[in-house]
Each structure stands twice: as C-alpha cells, then as structure tokens.
Amino acid sequence: MSWVDRVRALLGDDAVDVAATPDGVPRVAPGSPDAVALLLGTAREEGWRVRVEGAGTWLPVDAPADLALTTRRLDKVPAIEPQDLSATAEAGIACDLLRQQLADRGTWLALDPPGLAGRTLGSVVATATAGPLRHGFGPVRDHLLGVTFVTGDGRLVQSGGRVMKNVAGYDLTKLAAGGFGAFGVIVLVHLRLRALPRADQTLVLEGSREDLAQVAEDIAAAAVQPAAHELMSPALARRERWLLAVRFAGSAALVSAEEGALRAATGGRFTALRADEAHALWMRAAESFATRPVTFRVGALPDSSDELMDLLQHQVGDEWISASPGIGAIRWGGETTVDRLRRLRRTLAGLEVPLTLERAPWPVRAAVGHFGAYREGVGPLVAGLRRTFDPGEAFVVAVEGTE
C-alpha cells in the first residue's frame, strides 16, 4: 500500500488531497485533534517526515517531506465568552474569520500579525509573530491561556486552561508559542480577549528616520501609552519618507486623553487618520511582509533600536522595516542571502541581540535556521526538548541552521 492509501485508510478518502501542493507532496487535512494524533502516531511508526501547514500563506510550502499536514480543516471556534473575555478556537481558523466572529460578540484579540489576513491562528502562535500591537498588548504568549498540541509521536498534550490565571504544572504553552512547530502541531488554542475598543484612533507623522526616532523618544518620555507605536520604512508605509504611526485603543476617555498628551508632547505635528485610512495602513503594513521572500525579527533594548536599524541598513538594507522602538522590536523583510543572514546573526549575537528567522524559502531556512547563535548551554536544552516532543524527528522544521 502506498503512503497515500494508508492515510486514506486511516482518515478517510476526503482527508487527502494529493494534487494540492506545488511540489507534489501529498497533503492531508485531518478534521479533528484526535485525527491529527492518529496521523502523527502512524507517521512515527512508519518513519514519515511531516511538514505542518496552516493556510500556506506565510511560510512557503516547500520543505522536503513525505507528507504535508494542514490544519485548515481544524477551523471550528467552540467557544467565545464575552463575559469572561476568553475564547477557544481550533488552530486552523483563519485570523480574519476569527476576528469577525469575535467582533460579532463584542470582543477582540489584540494581535495584528504580519502576513495575509487568512493566516491561521495556529501559525501565528507557532511562529509567535506579533505585529505593532505588541507595543501595548505584549507578545503572542501574553494572549494565550492554554493550548493543546500533538507531539511528533502522536500524543495529544493539553497545557494551561481557559482561565485567566493558571500555575498548575509547568507552562508548556510557552514552548508552543514561538516553537515554529518543532514541539508539536497546535490543534486548539484558548485565548485571552479584550472588549472591542470603544475608540480606536491612529495618528501618523512623516519624516526622516532620525527625526522620527527623536519624536518616538519624546513620546516615551511623556509617558504616552499607545496600543501601537510603529516606525515604518517608506516602502512599507507607501509614503515618500519614514512614517511613525501611533494607535490608541480603549475607552473614549482614554483615547482622547492619550491623543491630547501625544499632541502636547510633539507640538501637534501628528495627523489623525480616518478609520478606513487607518485600517488600510495597518493592513498594508502587515501584508507587505508576505510579499518579501525573507522576514526576520530582532529584539533588543529600546535605546539601541536606532543603532540596530543602522546596522540592518548597512548589512542587509532597510527597505522593508517595521519597528516598535518603545520595546526594541524590529521586523525586517526583503531579499538576502544565507551568508548575509549568518553574518548578521553573529554580529547581533555579539551585541546580545537574538535574530529569529520568521520566513524564507526552505534552502535558506534549512541553512540559517529559525534560531541560532545561542548562548552557552542553551543548545543542549533546546535539543533535549526537541527529542522529548519529536523523538522520531517527524517534523520537518529548521529549528537551527546547518552552520
């Protein structure tokens, strides 16, 4: 029996879609968390190499594998609880569909990850790609109450729960968030929500990067507390010059007070956007990254943001950059080579700044790895964790590069 036939025998004819992937790898779409577990249990026994796919819109679906496992049929939203501000969603739900369902119930997931609107929730969690809202609402992990994932040998592991605080047992959710799928396929996610903001206002200022960096400092010094505070390169913002975009979200009183404070701190230089303009700006910024072959993120001390952007400009160019200077987070997009990425990662490591490769074609991912240049003693811990959750190395994930 061929592999495809075996999988059909396991999960039914309609779970396999052989023609779908560009590279001819059979694609399987299990319809429930248990089906994912059964599939991976079998993969382990048969020695199949599996690549995990969400909607296939963020990372190219190009890793060499025997089987592609897509989460796209895991698209149910079993619970939205406006009274608790929590929700439970399967990992394959598209972010835009989830957002709509949440909004219908007056709730909001304060995450605006890069990529296309149809990205799956699971891919956002797996890659921990937070967007500009990370300034005010924190990284992806801060929005998770718990996850259920399936290990490389087909075990369904539940971690956390659906309540706001939880210290029962070790926090394995933290491994799933940003593990790039190396520790398991995320099948179910419990989310911490916020009430849909009553007011949501974006203001922008165009200028040179140096000028805007100064303005950003003034804003921080005045203790203005925006939801997003993002410095975008001209190409990304589709403007002549760099753009500093500041977003406030919350009660009407809060938003108007913060807007006043912003104007006071910056001499009224910002322009307020209409809601449709603001929406278009943030969408564009998110989607633009999906059009570049490579994206990575770096995280540093806030006061070194400027210096780091100089370094990026020098080593890999600064055409596509989106940075939250207030928290030292920078996302870069563009075209570059394995050698340059490796050199950059080494340089950054010398400055104690980690570089996380978010997306790239498989040859680049495989060579550079999502992570690398670890501090002493960290590599063996990561390797140990991988062995624990994927003992047969079923998942095709370039956790570290080949250097």
């Binding site: 396991l10 999960l11 309609d14 299990p30 089906a35 059964l38 249990g41 026994e45 609880e81 406006p82 009274q83 501000l85 929590s86 007056g106 992990r141 801060d142 040998d153 075990r155 592991v157 729960g161 309540v163 706001m164 605080k165 939880n166 210290v167 029962a168 047992g169 070790y170 926090d171 394995l172 933290k174 491994l175 968030a177 190396a182 203790a223 507390q225 009660s251 009183a253 809060l254 108007s256 007070a257 913060e258 006043g260 404070a261 995280g299 540093a300 001390l301 928290i327 030292g328 700044v353 992570f371 670890y374 002493e376 003693g377 960290v378 990561v382 964790l385 624990t388 003992p391 956790v399």
Partner: protein
C-alpha cells in the same frame, strides 16, 4: 550508597564541605535550627531538611550545587519561605539552599525600564529602589513585604494589580539559572525577546524544579500618575459576582478588582487593620483604576461606579485621598493575617474559575461550608476569577482536619467542574499533587515530567513536587493507540478514523 542516605550518613562531612564554600556559620545542621525551615506559609506540611545552607553569592551557589551533584544529593531552593503549597520544603535526605543572602539589586536602567536583581531581593524593595526614577515593579503578591523575587519567579506569583499588568511571567525578561549539575545558563536576552524557544517563559512557574534562578532581569513600569480607588458594597454575594462580570465586559480594565465576603470583612474590621469596610455587607468589591492621564482615569472611574450601582451596589465609595486609599488596601493586603485570628489554623486555598461563573461557584462554596460545618472566608482576585476560599479551624479538634481536607477537595471539584483550575498563583508544590490528575491526563503529566528531565535528568532539584509521577503515562518508546492492536497500527481503525476525520 543511594542518594537517599547520603546526607544522613555523611552529615558531618557534607556540612564541613559546604562550610568550606559558604563559611561554617552559613551552614545549619543542629535540629532546632533546621526545624525553623520545616514549613513554608502553609501550616499543614512539615518536613525537616537534612542540612540548611545559605550561600552568599552566585559563585557560592554554583559551588554548592556542583558539590551536591558530585555526591548525588538532592536539594531544594528556598526564598523567604512564604509559599503556600509546601514547595520550599526539603526532606531529611536533602539540602535546603536558602537564597535570602543573594539580595542585591544589581542594576536599574531607567531608560530601558529594566532592573537586574539577585533572587533573594524582597519584592517591595525593588519598587522602593525604582521609585526615584518614577518606576516600580508591578507584580504585587500580598506577601510582598516578605517574599523574594526568586520565589515569585518560581511560583509565577500574582497579586491584586496583575489584572491589568499581568502576572510575574509577563515581567521577567531574562534569567541566569544554575542547573542541577552546576552548569550556569543564561536564558532569554537583554531586551526580553526569547533567544530560541521561550525558555524564560518555561522556567517561570516551574517551582524550583528546573534549577536555581540566580539573576533575574525584570521589566519596570512607570508609576501611575492618576489613581482612583472605589469600594462598592453589596447585600448579596451573587450580585457582587455578577457585578464583576459586568465590569470586565465594559472594556475598561481596572488595575485591580478584589472581593471580600462578610466573614473576611468582619475579620479585618476586628483587627488592627480595620479599614472601615461595612460590616453588614455580604461582600465588598475593591476596584482600582490607574493610568497616566488624570481626566481619563476619572472618567473611567465614573463609568465603573455607574456599572457597579446598576448591578446592585448599595453604595460606591471613592477614596478621597492617598491616605484613605492606603487604608482600604491595607485591609485587603492584611486580610490573611486578620483571618489568622479567627481560629488556631487556617487553610489558604487557591483556585481559578471563569469569571462569569463566580456567582454560582461562590454559592456552591457556601453550601459546602455549611454542609461541613466550617467557616469559609473569601478574599480574592475577582477580576481574574482567582478564588481564595480560606477555611478557619482548630487542628486540635479530633477529625476536624480530615473534614477540612474533604471540604477543600469538594471546593476544588466545584472549580474544576466550572471550567477552572486548581491553582492560580500558589502553585502545586506538595499540597496539590493529589489534584493534578483531575485536570491533566497521563500524557500531559508525562510531558511535564519529560520537560523537567531535560533540565534535571536525575530529578534532584526539589524532588517530589508539582508532577505526581505515578500518574504519568509512559513517555518514550512506541505507544499503541486505543482501539488498535500492537503490531497492526491500522487494523479496525478505518471506521473510527473516518469518523474523526469528519
């Protein structure tokens, strides 16, 4: 010789070797001295450690841990010992490593709003040190005048103001950790971005099972410039619980949203911490709003006061000044102490439920208290749904302790049935091991244990805590799936699997 007998047999020579590292006066071997470390904040567990050692620096910690690794002796890290789950207790065969002498604040960086501290720094000291820069360390467990930041990291401690600003995990950016074999690793990065998988996030809340945190890098926040503190009183517990949900759904996130029931109110009012809470109220809510803009905080406070009234508050008092605010908070923060006066013994419970279930759960807890003839007082982080039902009793009364245990178990069962969990901030330690299989299956427990083995392959750091080993499923090796025969992975599976696939 097994590790188990190592300390007892070598007591003298081990103590001498430890003394060479830390100085003889920082090693405690006499029974009366060791007994002072036999409990943590929970009165119900007592374990006398074999030896107590108090290193004075990170290097001394490393040397101590390496010595113990070479001898195969288990050890337990301990901060201030205020924990409420029996986590910082060591048995006779183990060494207790007390970290209170590692109490230096190593750096405060006001520009990047970051501090680096040793683990023995007492929580409030950091905020005091940051205050001149207009900054503070946000997680504020009620024990903050005593507990250490190392203990907070290990327990992922919470506090009243974690509703808006997040629990300890949100604020820890990086850690230096001494592993079980004495190796030192740095987790995370200076700015807080994970360096690889999020090992900092994984370590926080690991209850001392993954090693000893010797340096902790935390985020500081600007001290809020505007604060409003409201006290709302209710004539029924249920109404107060419903008001909590209404506040949460409003979209305004209070800095804190705490509830105290009548029994707790009376305990506080009878104590030196009397805060002027209305004694005839079935419950009060203490709601605090804060921020950087006076006008916004004032407007939001008005909105919240309106919501509280609309949901049945008899009255809403707004603290007139800082002094009154402090008094209102003093009552809340010292409530445990005040309840301690109600009876000889007090069991402090900790569980979390979805916030919308608070009214039902509180009523159910009341019924359990009545059924067992026990006094249960509730004082808790209502905004997070984090309950603390506390049972006052006299442990000398024959059979009473068993009844308290049974009632505690029933309360836990009610919380789990409501979709909740068995601890929101106090941890599992020893005390809640028996409840772990109620919320995690054998695979989830086995996964936790397997992760611990990556950090501590011989399970020598704080043995016997957090994961009930007997309830873990086998982890390594090929596993058969239910409904399948070993050796024929697909036999008979087709129908069942197509079902699953659908």
């Amino acid at each position: 010789m097994t590790a188990g007998t190592a300390t007892a047999e070598r007591g003298g020579s081990l103590a001498a070797a430890l003394g060479e590292i830390v100085g003889a006066r920082h090693v405690r071997t006499a029974l009366p001295e060791r007994v002072t470390f036999a409990r943590d904040g929970l009165p119900t567990h007592r374990h006398v450690p074999g030896v107590v050692v108090l290193p004075g620096s990170r290097d001394e910690v490393v040397a101590v841990v390496r010595l113990l690794a070479a001898l195969g002796v288990p050890f337990v890290p301990r901060g201030a010992g205020t924990g409420l789950s029996g986590g910082a207790l060591a048995d006779d065969d183990a060494v207790l490593i007390v970290l209170t002498r590692l109490n230096r604040i190593l750096a405060i960086d006001p520009v990047n709003r970051i501090a680096v501290v040793e683990p023995g720094v007492v929580n409030v000291r950091l905020s005091a040190a940051a205050a001149p820069h207009g900054l503070y360390y946000s997680p504020d467990p009620s024990s903050q005048t005593a507990c250490t930041i190392g203990g907070n990291v290990a327990e992922n401690a919470g506090g009243p103001h974690c509703l808006k600003y997040g629990v300890t995990a949100t604020h820890v950016l990086g850690l230096e950790v001494v592993l079980a074999d004495g190796q030192v690793v740095e987790l995370g990065s200076p700015g807080g971005e994970p360096w690889g998988p999020d090992l900092v996030g994984l370590f926080v809340g690991s209850e001392g099972n993954f090693g000893i945190a010797t340096r902790i890098r935390v985020r500081l926040l600007p001290v809020p410039r505007a604060i409003r503190t409201l006290l709302a009183d209710f004539s029924a517990l249920r109404t107060a619980g419903e008001a909590v949900s209404a506040v949460i759904a409003s979209g305004i996130v209070p800095a804190a949203l705490e509830m105290m029931d009548q029994s707790c109110i009376n305990a506080v009012e009878d104590s030196v911490y009397a805060a002027g809470y209305p004694r005839d109220a079935a419950a009060v809510l203490l709601v605090e709003l804060d921020g950087c803009r006076e006008e916004a905080v004032a407007a939001d406070a008005d909105t919240i006061a309106g919501i509280l009234r609309a949901h049945g508050a008899r009255g809403v008092l707004s603290a007139a000044d800082a002094k009154q605010r402090e008094r209102l908070w003093q009552g809340r923060k010292k409530a445990f102490g005040a309840m301690g006066r109600l009876s000889r013994d007090l069991v402090v419970q900790d569980a979390v439920v979805p916030r919308s279930t608070l009214p039902d759960v509180l009523e159910a807890i009341g019924r359990i208290a009545t059924a067992y003839g026990l006094t249960v007082s509730n004082v808790f982080h209502a905004g997070d749904g984090n309950l603390h039902p506390n049972i006052s009793f006299d442990g000398r009364v024959p059979g009473l302790k068993a009844r308290v245990d049974q009632a505690s178990g029933e309360i836990m069962a009610v919380c789990i049935a409501a979709g909740g969990t068995i601890t929101g901030e106090h941890g599992i330690g020893l005390d809640k091991l028996r409840y772990m299989p109620l919320i995690f299956d054998g695979d989830a427990l086995a996964a936790m244990r397997a992760v611990r083995l990556v950090f501590d392959p011989l399970e020598r750091v704080n043995p016997g805590k957090v994961v009930p080993i007997h309830a873990c499923r086998e982890w390594s090796g090929v596993r058969t799936h239910p409904g399948r025969e070993p050796g024929d992975p697909r036999a008979g599976a087709r129908g069942e699997l197509s079902e699953l696939a659908r």
